[in-house]
């Protein structure tokens, strides 16, 4: 007869050890260097891969269990949102523009991160690392999917949501986040971990998914809040992994410090540049505002990022030089970015507008040092011109930064009235960057950045027209052809008079009346 012995339950630590350590074996047909060919060329020295441990000690069984729970919650809310006409419960239709930027510029980044982590799971030799990268890869794919599902409901009713996949490759402002991810994906495995684990997760997502999503809740958009918070609960794990990776590199060998510091400096700045889009979304695109960009920056970057840098100081890590400039920039970037999109609103796949009086007063109160002095007069002038029928659209193409791909719209440190740009020379050609931060990045790896796909250059070279376009025909309108290549269908121009504005007002009227 079999004896029934009560099985001792494994502790979390034992479970995790069994999951990870037993997966690692020594190869015999090929050397370790042949199996993991990319892990040494960046110069990071690792002596003991077993020192890398996921502090959450998440095993596959609990991973699937809790992720399934998150998905059930998410889809229940998405169903409810669709069933009760959630698309009419938002504050007003201007809010949709923020969602359009999100889908065009940010969701494809999630997908890129998923591809990157799938590759890193293969390239790192440590088993704890492989498991964590695999989970993160699945998470990132899930984020792209849940975002596309949540926003597909809006696509049934409004413009600007239908061509996000091509927008990622073609649209001038989408190359900003795309260049960030392409830069990370074309780096080595350790640099990738700093780019995504540290910069994207630690610097970016807390500002994007926390205060912006909290704002989405008070703008009536439960679908977006849910995908945002659901994604960020995974990001909490990812941030921990990113931090663990930094610690691991620094603890393994003192020679790693200068390499890690250089990556932290580079990716901190790259992340901050991508955030200018988020700053504009918070200060200008949420009709009901809950927190200014500057306030969010102070909580999540200055306080939280400051705590992180204090902690890393014991390894010799210094606060990146760019942080001093950011303290000045937090008062300006959202206004400068919105002013740019307003002027280029003819070529953006979302609507733009000038803030109304209430909104200008809110901006004055939140930005007492800068808004009234530098931005209100310009915005008031544009608004008056629009009311007279002279809505201003810029028809020229801007010069982009060779690194971050943002047009040269930001101002010189110490002088918010002077456009900032820097110049480098490489192999007899001149290259322009938007700041000291981007110039430093360019000068360090010029061979990488001279390959950048810059939309204005590509448009001038004739690479951004639909197939079969003949630019030599009489009356050829290049801008119209570019917009056709972007798949525009009334997606652009001012919010005032847009199809979204008319439809939203009409449908909301129908939703609250019986005639």
């Amino acid at each position: 007869m079999d004896m029934q012995v009560a099985k001792k339950k494994l502790s979390l630590k034992e479970k995790y050890k069994l999951l990870t350590r037993d997966l690692g074996w020594d190869t015999t047909y090929h050397t370790k260097d042949e199996v993991f060919p990319y892990v040494k060329y960046e110069g990071i020295k690792v002596h003991d891969w077993d020192k890398w441990e996921d502090p959450f000690r998440l095993t596959m069984d609990s991973y699937w269990k809790y992720q399934a729970e998150k998905e059930r919650k998410f889809y229940a809310i998405i169903d409810a949102h669709a069933q009760n006409n959630g698309h009419l419960h938002i504050t007003d239709a201007r809010y949709l523009s923020a969602l359009k930027i999100f889908l065009q510029a940010i969701s494809p980044g999630e997908y890129a991160a998923g591809k990157g982590f799938a590759r890193m799971g293969r390239e790192f030799p440590g088993v704890g690392t492989q498991v964590a990268c695999q989970m993160q890869s699945i998470d990132e794919i899930r984020h792209a999917q849940t975002q596309i599902h949540a926003l597909s409901n809006y696509n049934k009713f409004y413009n600007g949501f239908h061509a996000f996949a091509d927008a990622r490759d073609r649209m001038w402002y989408c190359t900003l986040p795309r260049s960030f991810f392409d830069d990370a994906l074309s780096a080595g495995p350790f640099e990738f971990m700093i780019a995504i684990g540290f910069s994207f997760e630690y610097v970016l997502t807390n500002l994007l998914f926390v205060p912006f999503m909290s704002g989405a809740a008070y703008n009536g958009d439960m679908a977006t809040v849910t995908f945002g918070f659901s994604a960020q609960s995974d990001e909490a794990r990812h941030m921990t992994l990113g931090l663990e990776c930094i610690k691991f590199m620094l603890e393994q060998d003192p020679d790693n410090l200068p390499i890690v510091q250089k990556w932290i400096d580079k990716w901190c700045w790259r992340g901050i540049r991508v955030l200018s889009l988020v700053g504009m979304m918070m200060d200008y695109m949420l009709p009901k505002r809950v927190m200014s960009w500057k306030e969010a920056w102070e909580i999540y970057f200055e306080q939280n990022g400051g705590a992180l840098f204090n902690d890393l100081a014991r390894y010799g890590i210094k606060v990146p030089d760019c942080v001093a400039q950011c303290t000045e920039d937090k008062e300006h970037i959202s206004h400068q970015a919105w002013a740019t999109f307003y002027q280029y609103g003819g070529a953006a796949a979302f609507h733009t507008w000038m803030p109304n009086d209430d909104e200008m007063d809110w901006l004055s109160a939140k930005y007492p040092n800068t808004f009234d002095k530098y931005y209100r007069p310009r915005f008031t002038y544009w608004r008056e011109q629009a009311e007279k029928g002279n809505r201003f659209y810029s028809n020229t193409l801007p010069m982009l930064c060779q690194v971050c791909q943002i047009p040269h719209i930001f101002t010189e440190p110490g002088d918010p009235t002077k456009t900032c740009y820097r110049e480098s020379e490489y192999k007899g050609e001149k290259y322009h960057t938007c700041s000291d931060g981007c110039k430093g990045i360019f000068d360090n790896e010029p061979e990488k950045y001279i390959q950048a796909w810059l939309p204005p250059h590509q448009i001038y070279q004739g690479n951004c027209f639909p197939e079969g376009t003949d630019p030599t025909v009489e009356g050829f309108d290049p801008l119209a052809k570019v917009l056709e290549w972007y798949h525009f269908d009334q997606d652009n121009l001012d919010f005032e008079g847009s199809r979204d504005q008319k439809n939203f007002d009409m449908w909301r009227g129908m939703a609250t009346k019986n005639t």
Partner: protein
């Protein structure tokens, strides 16, 4: 001293969790924001399974935190009984 924080979705599941966190971390500052609650503690935050169980009246697995977690800061250490966040460990 640097602050660690945890942010949870504002819902019925997290109400007793927040009470338990405040009980175990007397210096906790609770910030209630739209759809979320952010709890700041100077230096170190300890979340104990037993305290949560007292508040919810059933057995609790600390990994259930994942479901309503939004974000956190600090170094994480987790086992069956305790979830801690700290700086300068």
């Amino acid at each position: 001293m640097s602050t660690v924080f945890i942010a949870l979705q504002a819902n019925e599941d997290t109400r007793p969790l927040i009470d338990a966190i405040v009980q175990d971390n007397p210096e906790a500052v609770v910030n209630r924001q739209p759809a979320m609650v952010k709890i700041d503690v100077p230096g170190k935050m300890t979340i104990r399974r037993e305290t949560i169980e007292e508040h919810i009246g059933r057995a609790y697995d600390l990994q259930e935190l994942q479901v309503n977690l939004i974000t956190l800061s600090g170094h994480v250490d987790e086992d069956e009984d305790c979830f801690t966040l700290c700086w300068n460990s």
